[in-house]
């Protein structure tokens, strides 16, 4: 019996996730023998968008219902996967059709199941819809989500940002976002940007150059930690800067984009700021704002970072208490 436990691959700081990748033909009884079903916070059932035959649907619904009976608190999710293989039109049609079939099946089992809260999402590994879907599942499991969202909302309004995400760097899932709706193309762009930055690091990593004091892998203590102090050093000058008082260094990046539809001056800047060793803030800010008031944006990042680090610390402590 092969279960794959994927808890180390996704090293979250906000919530430690443990993912059980179950084989398609698994019987609930075997899973139950491994661990009590009440231990699971969410069930993600993956179904191929082209495989909408009756046995598949019957089996899926049976699994969902029996898991729900054992654990009514469980979050039920269905990923309608490989959506890339169908055209836009067929994709939506199949997606609706599947939901209808599931509802019919639930009704057939019993009236009390008609209202079973199941979330359906279209996914594919060929774009970032899977990242988006997984992020949304994760949000239901994060207790401190409202606090993170508040911080993001404050950041957005103070920095004139139209959208901001707090990403887990390695998995590229977003832990939280501000209140504005997530528009898939924007989410894809941020995800691609993060992917590019992740890839750049090792490319130009020097074996001899000393890197600035990056935040340690453990959670840094909550001290006001502005990003690298902005003393302007002239090019070529061998600056003799006192290194002893160097504040903690948080990597950052920005890329300016020019809208090819709107006129000149309508550009957007995508910013990236490391918040904790595992989390980064990505935000869309009008280029004019970013260029004129970069200091203010960076100040807002520091404020945001302190807030997130505090939340993480509280969470961490709470977890320790639970464990001991």
């Amino acid at each position: 019996m092969a279960f794959i436990h994927l808890n180390s691959a996704l090293a979250f700081t906000v919530i430690p996730l443990e993912i059980w990748d179950c084989p398609g033909d698994i019987a609930l009884e075997t899973l139950k023998a491994e661990t009590p079903l009440s231990q699971f916070a969410a069930l993600i059932f993956v179904v191929d968008i082209q495989d909408l035959y009756q046995p598949t649907i019957t089996k899926m619904v049976e699994t969902i219902v029996s898991l729900y009976q054992e654990n009514p608190d469980i979050d039920l999710e269905v990923f309608v996967h490989k959506s890339d293989v169908l055209s836009e039109e067929y994709k939506i049609e199949n997606f609706r059709h599947l939901q209808q079939r599931v509802m019919d099946e639930l009704m057939y089992i019993g009236n009390e199941y008609e209202q079973l809260p199941i979330n359906f999402q279209l996914t594919s590994i060929y774009d970032h819809s899977l990242h988006d879907a997984f992020s949304r599942v994760m949000h239901k499991l994060i207790d401190c989500l409202p606090y993170l969202e508040d911080l993001l909302n404050v950041f957005c309004s103070n920095s004139q940002s139209s959208k901001a995400f707090l990403f887990d760097i390695n998995s590229r899932l977003y832990v939280a976002t501000d209140a504005s709706p997530v528009d898939p193309p924007t989410h894809n762009l941020c995800n691609d940007y993060l992917q590019m930055l992740n890839a750049f690091g090792p490319l130009y990593k020097s074996i001899t150059a000393t890197s600035p004091s990056a935040p340690r892998a453990a959670l840094p203590s909550v001290t006001p930690a502005p990003s690298r102090s902005r003393t302007t050093s002239l090019p070529g000058s061998t600056g003799s800067r006192p290194l002893s008082t160097k504040p903690l260094f948080y990597p950052s990046a920005s890329t300016s984009l020019a809208s090819s539809t709107a006129g000149a001056g309508a550009g957007t800047t995508l910013t990236y700021h490391l918040i904790t060793p595992h989390l980064a803030l990505l935000a869309l800010i009008p280029t004019t704002v970013f260029e004129a008031r970069r200091g203010l944006v960076e100040y807002n990042v520091v404020f945001f970072r302190e807030g997130v680090q505090e939340i993480c610390q509280v969470e961490e402590e709470a977890r320790r208490v639970v464990q001991t």
Binding site: Y126, P185, T186, N188, L189, D192, Y193, M196, L197, A199, F200, G201, P202, L203, Y204, K205, S206, I207, T208, A209, T210, S211, P212, A214, S227, R228, R230, T231, T232, S233, L234, P235, G236, T238, G239, R241, F249, P251, S252, A253, S254, T255, S256, L257, A258, S259, S260, T261, G267, T268
Partner: protein, 358 residues
């Protein structure tokens, strides 16, 4: 200045796919929709000011090949600057591929004896591992068939950065003043206390020159087109003469498949030992991001990074180029790098202007 570039090889070997990735900024996934090319598709690609690549994508079906070699022979093979011949690494028709290639070599010898020849062993992703051995064997076979004609062999696939390495190597031979550019990039690097400075062509993001003198065989000075076999400087002030004659006799096989064991180039004067694939990987990463931007109808403009490992600015240098400045000194600010790029603009516009006269 116009350069005629012939893109040839069997049908389905991947010629149009490459063109679509490099020159049209399409992702690899879209190439599956390409149909066979009918006859010759000609493209003019403006590359660096007045250097214009006149790309001839020659459909590879037998009927077309036969006509290129007979009635159309003089039209096709006249005035060729570069021949790029694409071979599928796992080809079903090895013998026939080689037969056509031999005939093309003969025609080229007759009409454009000075053309440089690049052989791409393509779809390396489909080769059975160990891939570097497969490539080495294939390269050896191709050199045998080529006889005394000097050829440069690259292993490529549209699924990783190897394609950028090959094409950067190819266009590098077409840029007349590459070593002068290199020298000025070294000066810029020095002014910025930079580890290195890399110059990219604007639309393709192919590497044109770097502040470090060419070390990889693929970047060795052009065998035929060099007008100035001058020396170039590294940022450390070392001089090394670019060899413009020795490469004529030896052909090089560059193993660039992602899975190849990349032996770090031994360079005593490089204390940083940066990843050897960094140039082509940078092209690939930026091209992929440019594509993401285009999907939301945005256009990539500039990038600035202060990461744990290094500081860098990527920005427009001239109308046709982008420059990447990489610094490993944490006291250097991106604002200073941006200022230096601004100051360097005019000089490089002039240099590019010069390249046309030679």
């Amino acid at each position: 200045m116009k350069k005629k570039v012939l893109l040839m090889g069997a049908s389905g070997s991947g010629k149009t796919s490459m063109r679509s990735l490099i020159f049209s900024n399409n992702p690899a996934s879209l190439t599956a929709r390409l149909g066979a090319t009918i006859d010759v598709e000609q493209n003019h690609v403006r590359f660096l000011g007045d250097l214009i690549l006149n790309l001839w994508d020659c459909g590879g079906q037998d009927a077309f090949m036969d006509s290129y070699l007979s009635t159309q022979q003089s039209t096709i093979f006249q005035h060729v600057g570069v021949l790029i011949y694409v071979f599928e690494v796992e080809s079903r028709n090895r013998e026939k591929d080689l037969e056509y290639y031999r005939n093309c070599l003969d025609a080229l010898r007759r009409y454009s004896p000075d053309a440089s020849i690049f052989l791409l062993v393509h779809k390396m992703d489909l080769a059975r591992p160990p891939r570097e051995q497969v490539l080495e064997r294939k390269a050896e076979e191709l050199r045998q068939v080529s006889g005394d004609v000097p050829v440069t062999v690259y292993g490529t696939t549209i699924h990783d950065e190897s394609l950028y390495k090959a094409w950067s190597g190819i266009v590098h031979t077409l840029i007349p003043n590459a070593s002068v550019l290199s020298r000025h990039l070294a000066i810029l690097a020095h002014a910025c206390s930079a580890t290195e400075v890399i110059l990219f062509e604007r639309t393709t993001f192919l590497v044109i020159a770097t502040s470090n003198p060419p070390a990889a065989p693929s970047f060795s000075a052009p065998p035929l087109i060099t007008s100035t076999p001058s020396s170039s400087f590294t940022s450390n002030g070392f001089t090394s003469t670019s060899t413009s004659t020795s490469t004529r006799t030896t052909s090089t096989a560059t193993v660039t498949s992602q899975h190849a064991v990349n032996v770090p180039e031994p360079r005593e004067n490089d204390p940083h030992q940066l990843a050897p694939t960094r140039y082509e990987r940078t092209s690939e990463l930026i091209k992929a991001f440019k594509y993401s931007c285009s999907r939301v109808r945005e256009e990539f403009h500039a990038l600035e990074m202060e990461l744990g490992e290094f500081t860098a600015v990527l920005d427009e240098l001239t109308r046709n180029t982008y420059v990447l400045i990489v610094v490993h000194d944490p006291t250097i600010e991106t604002a200073a790098l941006r200022m230096n790029i601004r100051l360097a603009r005019q000089k490089f516009e002039e240099l590019q202007g010069d390249s046309l006269i030679s």
